[in-house]
């Protein structure tokens, strides 16, 4: 949505024009859904969270102040809501020092054992979902939500060092899974050679 378009729809929204809500929804629902889902990993929860953001947008349309862009505003709302949800419902607490500060070995991660995967999306999804939850969330915030390590640390109220450890771990695990993907045909050859 071009900047000028966005201003028009915001104005229309303020005039209680429901068509504006529909336009904004059509434009941003796909990306916001990605944002929520990449953090929370659950499709239903992601939909609910994004839905809540649009409901709030409508209900509070006269109170909100969009300084930057609507996209940025909505994305921020989605991220906040998702992280708050995780904190309250999944009881993810970020402050446990031992768990996160140590740069644990990749061996304690449940590395996915091979299965023939059809699509690239499925492979990547499985790889990322094999990360421990907090690790995955930190990785998603960095990879997809364009948050710097410092910003993530501030948002989750933990140290930058902890974030960096989690990022490093995520990168290592993902590399292990995605780059060392055992090919079925290779194994077959291996076995026959061993005969």
């Amino acid at each position: 949505m071009a900047d000028s378009d966005e201003r028009l729809w915001l104005l229309a929204l303020l005039k209680d024009d429901e068509r504006a809500l529909r336009f904004i929804f059509d434009r941003y629902y796909p990306t916001l859904l990605q944002d929520a889902w990449r953090i929370i990993g659950d499709t239903d929860a992601a939909r609910d969270l994004v839905q809540d953001v649009f409901v709030e947008l409508w209900k509070k349309r006269h109170e909100i102040a969009v300084h930057t862009s609507l996209r940025a505003y909505l994305r921020k709302a989605v991220i906040n809501r998702t992280l708050n949800y995780l904190k309250s419902h999944r009881r993810i607490s970020w402050g446990l020092p031992d768990e996160l500060q140590q740069l644990a070995d990749t061996t304690d991660t449940d590395i996915y054992q091979k299965e023939q995967m059809e699509s690239r999306e499925a492979r990547v999804r499985t790889a990322i979902e094999s990360l421990p939850e907090k690790c995955r969330i930190v990785f998603s915030l960095s990879r997809f939500e364009q948050m710097s390590h410092k910003e993530i640390a501030e948002k989750l109220n933990i140290s930058v060092k902890t974030i960096e450890n989690q990022i490093t771990k995520a990168m290592k695990v993902l590399r292990e899974i995605l780059m060392n993907y055992p090919d079925l045909s290779v194994i077959v050859i291996f076995l026959s050679l061993g005969q």
Binding site: P30, V55, E121, V124, M171, K172, L174, R175
Partner: protein, 334 residues
Amino acid sequence: MGNELTLLLQKEFTGEITPAELARMQEILHQWPEGAKLAEELGVVWEETAAYTFPEPLESDKYFGQILQQISRETVPAPVIPIQRNIWWRAAAAILVLVVATFFWQQWSRNQAPTLLSLTNGSNDQQMIALPDGSTVWLRRGATISYPKQFNTQKNREVLLTGNAYFEVAHQPDHPFDVMLPQGEKIEVLGTEFSVNSLETDKSSSVLVKSGSVRFLPNAQQKGLVLTKGQKAVFDRQQSKVLVSNPVSMNELAWQRGGLEFVQTPLWQVIADLQNFYHVKIELSNAATRNCRYTAPLTRQPIEQVLQSLALIYKFDIRKTGEHQFLLSNGYCK
């Protein structure tokens, strides 16, 4: 070494690497040749992760519907009307265009911000609409009727009209039915069936009562005028005057009833009605024929056929003088 390089590479991918860190990264790569392979692989991994996407179809329509439901549950007393799927996008082809419009109209309270439903007849045929109270409205082409969502729950049943419409109002003595016109005229319905013509570009508006009675209020200043069956009031906006008449034929309503009917109707009126109904121009060159009387039952024949039957009876010569123009010359009354 590997871990340090991994982190630096990731910062380079996100764009948050500092110049000092960049220098450090290059130093490591220089010292540690295996680092190049790591860098390459991590780059591939980073790119690959872009494929991490929502795994289900989006189903936007369905989920937007849920949003509207939630809004309507959570906001009282101005609920949101469920916006029908794809209605706006079919505007060009639809016979009835449903537009959800919210606008502040001078008659409505500004604080309320009510939500109005608007229906426009975009087709060439008349469109029949049922109002929530059971009343029926026939919209002529191009006419728009608007009414609030709370139509049935308000004390007065109020609709807003632009264009030409015919009303059959359901009898509800406790809830007066009012038709508002954009320029401020108001029609209070006391009876049942009437037609209203109000075009914003027109210098006048008119009400014709078929049955029952209405009170016509041209504006806030003028006293209301009661019109009964068969009466027609024309309000000249410029002169701010109301003219009441008993028109000779009800053919003004022909578009609603689906045809024209003539009972001993003088030809000058017949021509006027034909012009109006078929959207054509007809010239009667022989002035003597203007008062010939014509009788014909309710009909929806094409204009050419109607003119031919006239020609047959009155010995007219018909000539088509334009795309929608005809000339009837000579002829005489029987």
